[in-house]
Subunit: 465 residues, 2 copies
Amino acid sequence: KEKFSSLSPAEFFKRNAELVGFSNPTKALYQSVRELVENSLDATDIHLILPNIKLSINRIESEQEIYKITIEDNGIGIPQSVIPNAFARVLYSSKYVIRQSRGMYGLGVKAVVLYSQMYQERPIEVISSTIGSKRIYGFKLKIDINKNEPIIYGRYSIENSANWHGTIVTVYILGDWSKSKQRIYEYIKRTHVITPYADFTFLDPEGKITHLPRITNKMPKPPQEVKPHPYGVDIELIKQIIANMRKKGADVKWFLMNEFQGIGEKTAQELLNMSGINEKKKVERLTEEELSKLTEAMKNYAKFRSPSADALSSIGEELIEIGLRSSFNPEFAVAVTRNPEAYQGHPFIVEAGIAYGGNILPVEEPIVLRYANKIPLIYDEKADVVWKVVSELDWKRYGIDTFPAPLVVMTHICSTKIPYKSAGKESIADVEEIEKELKNGLMEAARRLKLYLSEKKKEESARRK
Amino acid sequence: KEKFSSLSPAEFFKRNAELVGFSNPTKALYQSVRELVENSLDATDIHLILPNIKLSINRIESEQEIYKITIEDNGIGIPQSVIPNAFARVLYSSKYVIRQSRGMYGLGVKAVVLYSQMYQERPIEVISSTIGSKRIYGFKLKIDINKNEPIIYGRYSIENSANWHGTIVTVYILGDWSKSKQRIYEYIKRTHVITPYADFTFLDPEGKITHLPRITNKMPKPPQEVKPHPYGVDIELIKQIIANMRKKGADVKWFLMNEFQGIGEKTAQELLNMSGINEKKKVERLTEEELSKLTEAMKNYAKFRSPSADALSSIGEELIEIGLRSSFNPEFAVAVTRNPEAYQGHPFIVEAGIAYGGNILPVEEPIVLRYANKIPLIYDEKADVVWKVVSELDWKRYGIDTFPAPLVVMTHICSTKIPYKSAGKESIADVEEIEKELKNGLMEAARRLKLYLSEKKKEESARRK
Ligand SMILES: Nc1ncnc2c1ncn2[C@@H]1O[C@H](COP(=O)(O)OP(=O)(O)OP(=O)(O)O)[C@@H](O)[C@H]1O
Ligand SMILES: Nc1ncnc2c1ncn2[C@@H]1O[C@H](COP(=O)(O)OP(=O)(O)OP(=O)(O)O)[C@@H](O)[C@H]1O
Ligand SMILES: [Mg+2]
Ligand SMILES: [Mg+2]
């Protein structure tokens, strides 16, 4: 009587497109732009390439609001053998590794393609060439939603005579430019402010061209892939690491010392004693109960050093302060980059910035600019843990007696895993460790504001005498 | 250099367990209880069975906080051939049909099993018998996370001599009872308040037994499965309906008149004229472009009647008011059930209740009790569209001059698709049509409060004379 059925991941995220940010045409146009831009930036700055990104949005139908979005980057490109899966297989990604990147789910561009297929019939077009490749490859693709597989509508290759590398993506989606416009411009500008080594060109549907030029050639140190940290383990993760090991027949002591960060010989022995496991036991022969004991030991062992911050790449105090000054022309600006911390085995860094006065108009509530892994977050502000922390701060203690006040607050959280509230990547869940660091970072910046405001008061009362 | 890989849906939701409500052991214990209770209620009241639900949570390990959760219901049971998939295959469900139910994603109980496997090694146990079945079937299951398939650790069947029907689920998870306790009790009590035809027994880890007895035998009219509404279509949905059609070789006119609600002969012809499609054309032979034109025609045709409310099952004004009175002992209570509306082809009904004074203590902000498809929502209040509407209401206009005030507001949204912000089902996205109806429903209830408060004022000033 009840009808049982299963869904492919493509069917699931198409039916529930709001779970990946595609709730309506206005949001869809914004989400498409941000997913494409984030893929292009991951393909460049993580690999120490100065990003050149060209984005255009053109309206191509008069009856329906169908927009053609084209984005071109000079990134590392995508090998032709994986292009179909990268763009047309949901839950397929090169970012399932332990390293900070903007992407993390293997969903982003596929959600754009799914939405594209809902209201118009043109396939997505991808042109790409990897560094040093002799040929440039082109594909026209759709997603077979029932099977979660690519359908190749066309493919070709041409000689790469100019030694180009990068990716060009063209996709057609139902949108609403007039309602999305403001947030799309905000997204691009706020991205450029913290990515001043990137060159952006944007052609909008009204024909307006915006060029945000490269301001510096200095690039941040790229994040490195790291091994899992013991505090981040669970039984199923250990099973997966064992299944993926290249070395066969390894004993459990070798496994602990080589597949995880921060486990030396002495620590490995201690963990095995705690779990009652013989150090010579082959790791593929561990029983369910032994895996459970080992997981428990790793979670409870108190003396691991913190997870490595090599996997992270912060914005930096200098860049944040420059960005605040250039955006707002304030009378005061400060930025704080905290030391690395961790939650559930994932390292993270909180950065906070404050700008005050000058050209900032007084506002009822602080203007809050949230960032996560170098992505500007624009929707769902009130749901974000950052908003909770900013609104719970007692600004009186830092010299802001009343609101309205000319105050801008910027926050950046970077991590090997950002705990977003949903796969649309709009707001961050309130993880205790992150909330605590946000509070400490904001208070540290606010104390510098307090110092400035009290100095300013002294000067003003001195001047009056 | 970049490592490409794919994830099964089980791997994806295990890695990102916070996307399905499992962010930490405290939340996990709560989420496990609510996913199990919601499955038991869907298996009973949708099928006109008076629900008897027995829930127990016992702590079974002293070093780690492992809890054994057992739930038993007298519902329709699950056929033995699908039990393994129902509990151990992510994205498998009987609720992928167009009919109001608490479940909707095919994820809920699987998320419990995934989390269960992360920190302890016992499989989930399921015992079930469908109505009239001669045998009762038992399984011990785990999820093969890499393949997204069940692993059957054990199976058996016994004779069903007592003609029992229902389901018993036992699962072991890492939790934190002291931190979850309050919200778990709130969830159960708030569920019983709007489901007074259900009998709940709850044994908690401290040995306390709570019995919430059946208060009435009167059950709401169950929701019925309906056909898709034209306003809810898109190209891929039409393709899917065509692929699933039993009747082969149907022409497109038959297809429109029989596979959708609200399309008669005249309307079908109009749609085909708008799309330039011959009425005799076989539906499997429609081109991509014709499917696109047909979708556009259905979205733009202005004369469809509203989506059928047969698929819905509201709580009802009487039950809401009784619930408010029994929970709060107020001096005033009112409930409003609005007429059905629709968003994106999905019908929905908003219900609103207000309670004031009496035993309600004055509060700084109204106490807001949110419900969706008869589920109490407890987390993420500030992210919910309901909170936005309640806080934007000008309570002064309705006789509440200042806060603190003794005010409770209840809202219920029921629909064939609740637009949750995430698959953890904690808060509702701000869909314009729903926001508008919430506002209208609350204002309608608030006007009755205003009337009561002004009458009360008159009586009080009359008494003083
Ligand atoms: N412009 C690009 N240049 C190079 N590689 C790209 C580009 N766009 C996409 N890719 C590749 O395709 C993969 C899939 O992209 P997709 O956006 O679906 O997922 P993701 O970026 O890994 O994660 P998320 O869902 O969080 O965005 C990426 O992991 C990347 O390897
Ligand atoms: N107690 C139960 N009695 C009868 N059927 C059940 C019970 N528990 C689960 N099922 C069946 O197993 C299926 C899967 O349950 P699961 O909780 O994973 O998904 P769902 O309830 O369909 O959706 P959601 O993810 O929103 O909870 C259900 O659709 C239902 O058919
Ligand atoms: Mg991406
Ligand atoms: Mg369920």
